[in-house]
Amino acid sequence: MKLTKLAAIAAVALTAASPVMAELVFPSLSYRTGAYAVGGIPFADGYADYMTLVNERDGGVGGVATRILECETGYNTAKGVECYEATKGEGALIYQPLSTGITYQLIPKASADGIPVHSMGYGRTSAANGKVFNWIFNYPANYWTGASAAINYFNAEDGGLSGKKVALVYHNSGYGKEPIRTLEELSKKHGYELMLVPVDHPGQEQKSQWLQIRQQKPDYVLLWGWGVMNQVAIQEAANIRFPMENMMGIWWSGAEADVIPAGEASNGYKALALTGVGNDYPVFADIQKYVVDAGKAAGAGDQIGTVPYNRGIYAAMLAVEAVKVAQAMHSTADITPAMMRDGMENLNIDEALMTALGMPNFGPTFSVSCENHGGPGLASVTQWDAAAGKWNVIAPFAAPDMDVIGPLIAEDSAAFAAENNITPACK
């Protein structure tokens, strides 16, 4: 009992001491430890570096400084809840937890507390229906559009997937299971056979799964992994001599750290991408000048230009742009989470804006509306060049099969609305 009281007193004292001044608070529920840190560290670095850049170069957003509130989750949902509770009282504007499990936790909680959640390319796909999920956004792309993009690419490359076999090697969790429903629907349309190969957390041991693939010889493999699971899967695929060009990862399975351990053998591996690759964009010069050279880089500063780092920058950029929209809409610089939500719902990213931000062609152009919190779902395809040690874009941003995905989103969001007594409406 003694420890309880001690912890209680300490926790109360700590939560009570929060400073009060105008600032834009962005909680970063990061994971720099554990089996998923390989993706978590660069993303958190990118997110923090972009916010630092905005402060150093532009003096904040509309004159108000941004503040990153980092909290370590270890990709663990219970710790994610603890982080959410610890940070929400400090004026948190938006949550980007980079974890499907934590997103599922936050969807009901953040909706009740009135704080927007932006699950960029992860989370619950049917959150794209903004009439049911008023506070949840998942633009510019989600798992179902990703699944469709991968199938479309192979379909075009192969000249028809009819009679082919496609294997989905997935992380056996909510994250990995998300695309299954879409892939099943698409298999009816394209006539391929879907083979499901689950891999349990953390995925360091995949011998039996790849033996199964060697025996059943699928024509294509889709990889839906995260953290150490990716490296192991690509290494195992190389071990059974699975043709790398017939293997494609979702955007969470397409970072440098995933392919480098397999060395030359990973040459030709493909992955979907949400953003541009490399650091050949004007914004990186600014990051170098204002953040890295000033000694303000987050983490070790060695991740700049990697795929997850770029995604962190992109996520931060979308958040900052939404703040600008919200500030303009409500003509106040110090916005609330509710205003932030309005800003996100009226966000419009076009090429002129991207160029002005130093990110020409870095991401797709899109706009958000109340009906569509998911954006157009565009994704590009990249391929790993092991000799050069870099990703090359081999297919530009392309639209997914919304005829198939649209009804699925409507169906799943309707089920959620019925379960939780929500009347779909715009806010």
């Binding site: 009992m1 420890l3 309880t4 001690l6 912890a7 209680a8 300490a10 926790a11 109360v12 700590l14 939560t15 990061s30 720099r32 430890t33 840190a37 560290i41 980092e70 909290c71 370590e72 270890g74 663990n76 949902t77 219970a78 809840v81 603890e82 509770e85 610890a86 929400k88 009282g89 499907t100 499990g101 599922y104 936790q105 969807i107 009901p108 909680k109 909706s111 009740a112 507390d113 619950r124 796909t125 049917s126 056996n172 969790s173 909510g174 994250y175 299971k177 998300e178 299954i180 429903r181 689950p198 349990d200 957390h201 799943d412 089920a415 379960e419 939780n420 007594n421």
Partner: protein, 358 residues
């Protein structure tokens, strides 16, 4: 001086055999209860409830459950996470199939379902013991998690396999779902903890508990003096799983609100539960609480000190947390192999004699 039994005269058997025979103990117990029920709910913040008190209370329930099986009956179990999952999924199915059912009964019935599953997996304990039983219960852990991942009926065919707790009430007060007030969550868990602890305490003091302890201390001798190992072991599995199931149901419905079986009820949870009872003290209800406080609250406290006060980077703090908690576990086990409860017992013995130990 303060803490002594001298001068306390018991005039009836019930007085003599009560849980807290010493007045000082008894009054501390009642004061704690009064503070917990009548003072804390008025001050509890959302963070305190969701990140500190509710997980502590739920882990205490789970630890009491495991302590009955392992601490009192001597059957080592590594299936705690799996049994918690049974409780959680049973609670989810009850909540969604019978929306009008009171949440209290959903949780209770989830415990009953888990008790049945526990008895089923307890059957091997009649033939095997020790490490071999640990491996058999480990099989339960993996089988149950696999089952809830594999069969879509358990998660109502949702796309991601996640289960989400709908809003349910007790006497018109919301207990589950995102709109729950912190004090409601806290009080609901506290009420169940107190019930569970009272039941467990009285079971272990009675006929059944003595049978369990006889089996634990020497099963052959117990059999010779007339303890039926079948009923003793299976009743331990049933009661233990009932409590663990209640813990799992609360873990899902009140604490997290949405879970994914592999992550929320994986092998890690089994280990945490086992650590709690080993650190707290095997065969002690009080130890279950202290152990839960140590394992659940210490990381939160350390994190708040290192990140909140010292402002260390979050990753360094997370690594230090492992080192410090690990170091403390080793230290405590070296200083007192029988757990924190034994440490407390020793302190009490010393207090009785203080200040004249000779």
């Amino acid at each position: 001086m303060l803490y002594r039994e001298a001068g306390e005269f018991k005039t009836s058997y019930s007085d003599d055999s009560q849980t807290f025979p010493i007045t000082f103990d008894r009054s501390v117990f009642y004061i704690t209860l009064i503070i917990a029920f009548a003072v804390v709910p008025f001050f509890v913040s959302s963070y305190m409830a969701n990140a500190v008190l509710v997980p502590f209370l739920i882990w205490s329930i789970v630890a009491i459950g495991l302590n009955i099986l392992t601490g009192y009956c001597g059957q080592v179990s590594l299936g705690t996470g799996g049994f918690m999952a049974v409780g959680a999924y049973a609670c989810y199915k009850l909540m969604t199939s019978f929306p009008d059912l009171n949440i209290f009964f959903s949780v209770l019935l989830a415990g009953v379902v888990t008790a049945f599953v526990g008895v089923l997996f307890g059957l091997p304990s009649l033939r095997i013991k020790g490490f071999y039983l640990a491996v058999a219960t480990l099989a339960a852990q993996f089988f149950l998690v696999w089952l809830f991942n594999k069969v879509p009926w358990f998660y109502n065919y949702s796309a991601s396999g996640q289960i989400t707790a709908p809003e349910r009430t007790l006497f018109g007060i919301i207990i589950t779902g995102p709109n729950t007030l912190p004090w409601a969550k806290y009080l609901f868990c506290l009420m169940i903890v107190v019930l569970v602890a009272l039941v467990a305490r009285n079971l272990t003091r009675g006929n059944l508990g003595r049978k369990w302890m006889a089996i634990r201390d020497m099963d052959i001798a117990a059999e010779i003096i007339g303890v039926n190992p079948l009923t003793a072991k299976l009743s331990a599995f049933a009661v233990s799983s009932f409590f663990i199931g209640i813990g799992g149901a609360l873990f899902f419905s009140v604490y997290l609100g949405a879970v994914e079986v592999g992550e929320a009820f994986g092998i890690n949870q089994s280990f945490i539960a086992l650590f709690i009872i080993i650190i707290g003290g095997l065969g002690s209800i009080f130890g279950s609480f202290v152990g839960a406080a140590f394992i659940v609250l210490m990381p939160v406290l350390l994190k708040n000190i290192m990140v909140g006060v010292l402002e260390w980077p979050t990753d360094i703090a997370a690594h230090f947390e492992f080192i410090i908690v690990g170091g403390l576990i080793v230290t405590f086990l070296i200083l007192e192999p029988h757990g924190l409860a034994q440490l407390w017992r020793v302190i009490k013995e010393k207090l009785r004699l203080w200040p004249f130990p000779h």
